[in-house]
Amino acid sequence: MAVTSNHLYGAQKAHETPHEEEHDPREQLMYDPLPRGVMNDMVMESMTTTSWKFWAVFGVLSVLVAVCFFYAWGFMISEGLYIAGVMRPSYWGVFLVNTVFWIGISHAGTFISAILRVFKAEFRRPFTRAAELMTTFGLIQAGASIFMHMGRVWLFYWMLPVPNERLLWPNFHSPLMWDLLAITTYVLGSTMYLFLPLIPDLAMARDRSTGWRKTFFKVLALGFRGTEGEWRHLTTAMNIFAFAIIPVMFSVHTIVSWDFAMAMRPGWSSSVFGPYFVVGALHSGMGAVAVVLVIMRATMKHMDYFIRKEHFDGLGKLMMIVSFAYAYFFFNDYIVQWYGGDKWTDLLLHWLEEGPMAWMFYLLILFNIVIPFLTLWNKKIRTTPWLLALIGTLINVGMYFERYLIVPVMLTINRMPFTWKLYFPRVEVFLTIGTFALFIWLYMLASRLIPLIPVWEVQEGQMVHTLRKVGKTQVPTVSEFE
């Protein structure tokens, strides 16, 4: 059974109203239900309908991943870190920028699927999975970037909590150890949290596919049938996850910020770094989700049914709120540094604002604060997909700049002026391209292999949303099932 045309879900067209203010509630996915079977088929078709353009992009990315990720990294391991641009005093460079950036991206998934789930923000339903995939794939890039950074990566396992032959364990005083444990917790937690709600959808896909896909889904669906017990265990676990992963998420980026804040350095040693990094992470994460959703909607079949203007609108509002919060923390961090008048911090601020990388500093303010402020209050802009994607991209560029300023540019300034040198990336450029390519590559691969829309959650949502007639109008209502 294939869905042949769009008329099935052209609700908004049928109910167009002359006045802009009066939106038909049926423009919203939750009030525009379709039979589950139809939705299943739409999702299945979105996975299997693949144009040559997809393969072209996928092919290019495969080459990029092979060359810029695996070959470049392998070359660096065999040759030594000298092919990177790191030196004294910028011992950390773009690798750490990438790590922070990708961990930031990964925060969006958890935010949407856990926080919005806990607070029952219903518009989240169709894109929780898309966001969670970003978490997992982003963390892969973050982890890879940390390993790229290490001088002797082949000995990485010395950081694992396993003793050596003299019963020497790793150093739990080190923020890097906290980081390792927190990121491990987060990777495992978010991957499990991605997988649990995926099981029913995998079972659905299992029931609707043949050949190797059938085997693939059968193995992954673990024999799920949807019995009362299975649902009960699953929903209980999902509830636990939703609550438990929120503090983990906050802890991860806080601890990442502590890698910097624990150091005795001007500019880094700041107690506001924790929340500042968390909000920065959400900022880039939201932007990235917006970009991904716009691309998904534009390139995958039937996605315009599941992903609608209301979602862009909601995301846009979230982005604006996060942008406010970001501005608050940015200013908080800045004014404390500025007011203190410490000699080194003072020099650091001069360096940031008047030095060769000052353009980055001003662009970060423009992209992260000014542009979101000026645009996102407008609903038209919020609901125009390409504009929202553009703003999301700019936010991510701005956030990348922010991390770049914090890592190598701030590292230039220390308490020994004789050593100050400005860092420029070398092989890091390729490896950065490599991580981006790998992220997109994984995402594209996933879009062919797993249902990006959690159909059962959408159906569940549609079941609890009804239109109630009150007087002469229909009022959207939500019932609490649980």
Partner: protein, 760 residues
């Protein structure tokens, strides 16, 4: 398990286990990084795990500092100063420390070679080499045989002197760029003129309380830097009640100037006038009759010509008047002027006025070395031009070159390289493939200093009479794979003795020795009876053994000669205006690189030492006042072309905040076109990735100079003592449009505020 594990299985398991351990711990045999096999043949005094120490003498310059070399299993591991040698009392300079990198330099000459002036290189054996030297001695008219030697290796010089003396050849000529830049001829001539004795003056820095230095770069390379640095430290902090005060006059802030309490930049060539003016002001303040020496000078006029304010002169004069033991030292670029000799005399006159001759903190005449009859200064630059003229005219048929690299060290305008073509046979005893060696017919490599026997006379730097001794700390550098010598070198003294004996006649008679050691013993024989020495020995073998053990022989008591001061002040000292060659806008001030000196460029660690004042490594820079640079429209790392009447040189600019705006300065020491992989530049290989065939240097192959040589723009102009007026050039500076990033240790952001906005 009932089955037994066979031995073979056990070994297998064990090796798997070992490999696993190695991988898991990361420090097993699998991860061994540098392999160093023990030599197959160990030296006599070698105990496993214990070091053997040998006392010897540093040959990186002619100062004669004593060294103690730590060796282990036939390898020299570390060089320390010899604490009992009075010259350096256990201290060393950076060049002394890096002498091991000469010993183990990958670019040493591998063995006796028929070099054919770079055309056809073929290895020889030592018999053939001795035959060649012998033929050269025998078949040429003695008057057409010449020895050109460096300022080190006094025993080889003595041996060559005996040889030439016996056969009637001209005496060996000794030259070195350091002595040229130190203006040794000027110093000894000034001493002769004013102190009545041609000798090295000794300045007792340690006991002075106010020191005026007129260009003397005694903390860098001047005469005996380790000894003078010790003197400086004592001057500063030796007296707990009073910290010595130090004033330095020089157009640029040299490393020495940077340690001064007052650095007074002045126009080059006016140092002598300033000395006289200060003398006059001091004499005026002291009252009494104006000494003849200072009578004709007008401080106000000096202030305007030199650019030093009159108040500054008065303030300095006041300091001298109040000082207990003031001292004035002439040296460096102040002497490398057309008026250098009168500058030296003016400064000595200032000392005479302070009445410090022969007093603590004053001026002395350095003691002669124990086996020295009189002070023999190295050949002055002017005398070198005469030597080169003789070469050009065909008056020299065979030239032996030892311990000096004149093609690099002499200004290009002297035409040494061209003159070499008129010499029919050139035999080099170079250890390294330097420019002169590869332009020779034969290279018969001498030992490195740490493999050599010998002695070095100490010309100055200490109050005692010192003869520093050399002995081999290692027997050679071996290839542990084959146990063969990597560098088949032989002591030049041995080669000359063997060749002279082979030649027979007077040559053989003059050198009736079995070997180098016997020759050295013959030169030590007259010290056996001395009772005032560091040791006493009844006969020569014991004396030799003690000589090796102590690293030399020196008098226990100070032997400084006191010059007569009476006549100095009554003599009229006239400092004429300095003459500058060329029409250029800027004064050109070359100075010897404090870390590289004349021959350090092939030691990678010396290349990697930052210059003390600019922190530049591995290259040559042009120091320029930022204002001057602004007017010329150049900035850091812009390559400029410096043109004098004698030549052109190109190097990158360093905006140096502490240099007279009318002066351009450049370090001497780089710009080699040969001399091994570290002294030259190899383009891409500079990244230290590729294997470089040694032939690239030995054949004068495809190498480009590393940095530039300021001697290329020096013309043949001399002062009255015959020393090169190296600071007497005027040059044009032109922007080339090229840039070359100088490697600096310092941060341009942190030190010069680049990119920190307007306020910083």
């Amino acid at each position: 398990m009932s089955e037994k594990i066979s031995r073979r299985d056990f070994l297998k398991l064990a090796s798997v286990g070992a490999a696993t351990t190695a991988v898991l711990t990361g420090c097993g045999p699998a991860s061994r990084y540098v392999e160093r096999e023990p030599y197959m043949k160990m030296p006599e005094y070698s105990y496993n795990g214990l070091s053997t120490y040998y006392a010897t003498t540093c040959r990186e310059c002619a100062a004669g500092c004593g060294l103690v070399v730590r060796t282990m299993q036939g390898r020299a591991i570390k060089v320390e100063g010899n604490p009992s040698n009075p010259v350096n009392l256990g201290k060393t300079c950076a060049r002394g420390q890096a002498t091991l990198q000469g010993l183990y330099n990958p670019d040493r000459i591998e063995g006796p070679t028929k070099q054919g002036r770079g055309s056809g290189v073929s290895p020889l054996d030592w018999d053939a080499a001795i035959q060649t030297v012998s033929e050269a001695l025998k078949s040429n008219n003695p008057s057409e045989i010449a020895f050109l030697m460096g300022t080190g290796s006094d025993h080889v010089f003595d041996l060559a002197s005996d040889l030439t003396n016996a056969i009637g050849a001209p005496a060996p000529v000794r030259f070195g760029a350091l002595s040229m830049f130190e203006s040794r001829a000027t110093l000894s001539k000034a001493a002769e003129n004013l102190l009545g004795q041609s000798a090295m003056p000794f300045f007792d820095l340690a006991n002075a309380d106010v020191v005026l230095s007129f260009g003397a770069n005694f903390l860098e390379t001047w005469l005996s830097p380790v000894a003078y640095t010790r003197g400086f430290a004592k001057m500063r902090r030796g007296n707990p009640k009073q910290r010595g005060y130090f004033i330095h006059f020089e157009a640029r802030m040299s490393q020495t100037a940077s340690k001064a309490d007052e650095w007074i930049p002045l126009l080059p060539g006016t140092e002598g006038l300033v000395a006289l003016a200060i003398g006059r002001l001091v004499a005026e303040a002291k009252g009494g009759a104006m000494p003849q020496a200072f009578a004709s000078v007008d401080p106000l006029e000096v202030a305007s010509t030199s650019g030093v304010k009159l108040e500054t002169l008065e303030h300095i004069a006041q300091l001298i008047v109040e000082a207990q033991t003031p001292l004035a030292i002439p040296g460096g670029a102040a002497l490398g002027q057309s008026n250098g000799l009168s500058t030296a005399e003016a400064v000595l006159a200032l000392n005479a006025l302070a009445d410090n001759f022969g007093k603590p903190g004053g001026v002395f005449v350095s003691p002669l070395s124990p086996n020295e009859d009189a002070y023999h200064r190295p050949t002055s630059a002017q005398e070198m031009t005469e030597f080169i003229a003789k070469m050009k005219s065909g008056g020299i048929k065979v030239l032996f070159i030892h311990g000096v690299n004149p093609i690099f060290e002499l200004p290009k305008s002297f035409g040494f390289a061209e003159a070499l073509e008129s010499v029919s046979q050139v035999i080099s005893f170079a250890t390294f493939p330097d420019e002169t060696a590869i332009a020779s017919d034969y290279i018969f490599p001498d030992h490195h200093g740490l493999e050599s026997w010998g002695y070095q006379r100490v010309a100055t730097g200490t109050t005692q009479s010192v003869l520093s001794g050399l002995q081999p700390a290692v027997s050679g550098v071996y290839d542990p794979n084959t146990n063969e010598l990597l560098y088949n070198a032989r002591g030049t003294a041995d080669v000359l003795i063997a060749a002279a004996q082979l030649a027979g006649g007077k040559s053989a008679e003059s050198l009736p020795f079995k070997d180098e050691v016997e020759f050295i013993q013959s030169k030590l024989a007259n010290l056996i009876g001395e009772t005032d020495g560091s040791f006493v020995a009844p006969e020569i073998n014991t004396f030799s053994a003690y000589f090796q053990q102590h690293g030399g022989w020196w008098k226990k008591t100070a032997e400084l000669a006191t010059p007569s001061a009476s006549s100095v002040l009554s003599k009229s000292v006239k400092v004429e205006a300095a003459q500058f060659a060329g029409e250029g806008e800027f004064f050109f001030l070359p100075f010897v690189s404090p870390t590289l000196a004349e021959a350090g460029a092939n030691k990678p660690w010396l290349q990697e030492l930052p210059d003390p004042t600019t922190t530049v490594m591995w290259n040559t820079w042009v120091e320029m006042n930022p204002e001057t640079a602004h007017e010329l429209g150049v900035t850091n790392d812009d390559v400029v072309e410096i043109t004098s009447e004698a030549g052109v040189v190109k190097a990158a600019v360093y905006l140096y905040p502490a240099i007279h705006p009318g002066v351009i300065a450049m370090p001497f020491g780089q710009g080699h076109t040969a001399y091994g992989r570290y002294a030259t530049s190899l383009g891409t290989s500079e990244k230290f990735m590729e294997l470089v065939p040694t032939s690239q240097y030995v054949n004068g192959g495809k190498v480009s100079p590393r940095g530039a040589n300021p001697a290329d723009v020096l013309g043949a102009h001399f002062n009255a003592a015959g020393d090169l007026a190296f600071a007497g050039m005027k040059v044009e500076v032109k922007k080339t449009g090229e840039t070359q990033a100088l490697s600096r240790l310092e941060s341009r952001i942190g030190v010069y505020g680049e990119g920190m906005g307007e306020e910083h």
